[in-house]
């Protein structure tokens, strides 16, 4: 790994100022994507701005309508939070299935979403729950956030400070983990909002997380396994690699969606 200047600011404003000043700077949260990337020589920034010293960016607040999770909150904190378990149990369960224990002790929700790995779990939850990504500049609806393979709506230097998840009537997450990496070969998050409308978020299958409109329409009419039994997702445009073919991933979307609907609570 190339050397760099290390910074650990205490506030969001100081972090943004440091990045702006740097010719080639990068934020570091849990480091569990960016450090491996730098070790491989795929990134060699001049400045690394560590966000982990910013207290205001971590922690979980639940109100009647929403659960707001600070961007620096670790997967383990989300998985073991009694507030999340009570308000959106599916979200806590999903966080508890990310990587292994050691990864969950470091990886953060903000880092995961900013990175937008096609195989990462949070994007499916953000889409299905209709989350809002809060940054130091604006609020971005999840539907506008994940724009492509490792691509998001974030502008250069923009910092995710929190993610707000509306509390649904019921929800569930199902994941087919890659047996080696534990990342999602395909994962489906299904939620029915308090207004009865259903949303289906899929990760791992396409270059970016996406929703399945046909399933959502059927589930909004009748939230049952039966109502989506015949709905298939076309494999065109899905990921096709050594781990699974596009057709297999398309098949997994249908199977996991049905299982998620059956498990939703």
């Amino acid at each position: 790994m190339e050397n760099f200047n290390y910074h650990r600011p205490a506030t969001v404003a100081a972090a943004a100022a440091l990045l702006k000043k740097s010719k080639d700077g990068v934020y570091l949260a849990g480091g569990h994507t960016i450090l491996p990337t730098m070790k491989q020589g795929l990134r060699a920034p001049k400045d690394v701005v560590d966000l982990s010293g910013i207290k205001a960016m971590s922690g979980i607040k639940a109100s009647a309508g929403a659960v707001v999770i600070g961007a620096g909150t670790t997967h383990m904190e989300v998985a073991s939070s009694s507030a999340v378990k009570k308000a959106i149990p599916a979200l806590a369960e999903m966080a508890g299935k990310i990587g292994g224990v050691h990864v969950r002790h470091k990886g953060t929700i903000g880092g995961s979403i900013a990175n937008a790995d096609p195989a990462s779990d949070y994007p499916s939850a953000c889409l299905a729950l209709g989350a809002t990504i809060v940054t130091n500049q604006r609020k971005i609806p999840a539907d506008k956030f994940f724009t492509g393979l490792f691509q998001t709506a974030l502008k250069k230097g923009e910092i995710i400070t929190a993610v707000s998840f509306p509390i649904p009537k019921r929800a569930a997450h199902q994941k087919f983990p890659n047996p080696a990496s534990r990342y999602a070969l395909t994962g489906v998050f299904v939620a029915q909002g308090k207004d009865g409308k259903a949303r289906v978020g899929v990760t791992g299958a396409g270059p970016a997380a996406f929703r399945v409109a046909d399933m959502e329409a059927a589930l909004s009419k009748e939230f049952s396994e039966k109502s989506i039994a015949a709905i298939k997702v076309p494999p065109r445009g899905l990921l096709n690699d050594m781990h699974a073919t596009a057709a297999y991933r398309a098949h997994l979307v249908s199977v996991l969606a049905r299982r998620a609907v059956a498990a939703a609570k």
Partner: protein
């Protein structure tokens, strides 16, 4: 080079580190604590697991500089007064190792599992929570037995 001060195995230590110095490099190369191993250097294998502020983490994927002020425990910090930690003793008694390369990480992960799940942690939980630690020798059965028996004595 910035100076780093932190606690390692209960003792205050400090040293000069580069921005890119990994926690595992600081422990092994500067402090000579070579019990913490590097198996993969790609965040997969768990041989480098140590506790930072009481949490098991992969020290090959943590910057030393980010541990300023933290309290780190390595495998060398477990035994007290010349007596093995109950988890170390259990790995010995249950034959939870063969070559021993994965063992420091396994034991640090195991102690963390018991801390969070209690002395009566069941086999399924142990197997699930060891998913970030790879062993190329044992086939895991004796490791799981060792964790269960060590847990009971912790």
């Amino acid at each position: 080079m910035p100076t780093l001060s932190l606690k390692v195995n209960g003792k205050a230590v400090s040293g000069e580190v580069e921005g890119r110095t990994l926690l595992v490099e600081f422990l092994r190369d500067q402090l000579g604590l070579t019990g913490t191993h590097v198996g993969c250097d790609t965040s997969q294998c768990g041989t480098c697991v140590v506790h930072v502020d009481g949490k098991a983490v992969k020290s090959c994927t943590v910057l030393a500089a980010s541990c300023a002020g933290a309290s780190v425990t390595t495998i060398e910090g477990l035994a007290a007064n010349g007596k093995l930690h109950p988890m170390q003793q259990a790995f010995h008694e249950e034959h939870g190792l063969q070559c021993g390369f994965c063992t420091p990480g396994m034991i640090m992960a195991a102690v963390d599992i018991v801390k969070r799940n209690g002395k009566k942690v069941d086999e399924e939980t142990i197997r699930r929570e060891l998913s970030g630690n790879l062993c190329r020798c044992t086939g895991y059965h004796n490791i799981v037995k060792a964790v269960q028996s060590g847990a009971a004595n912790m």
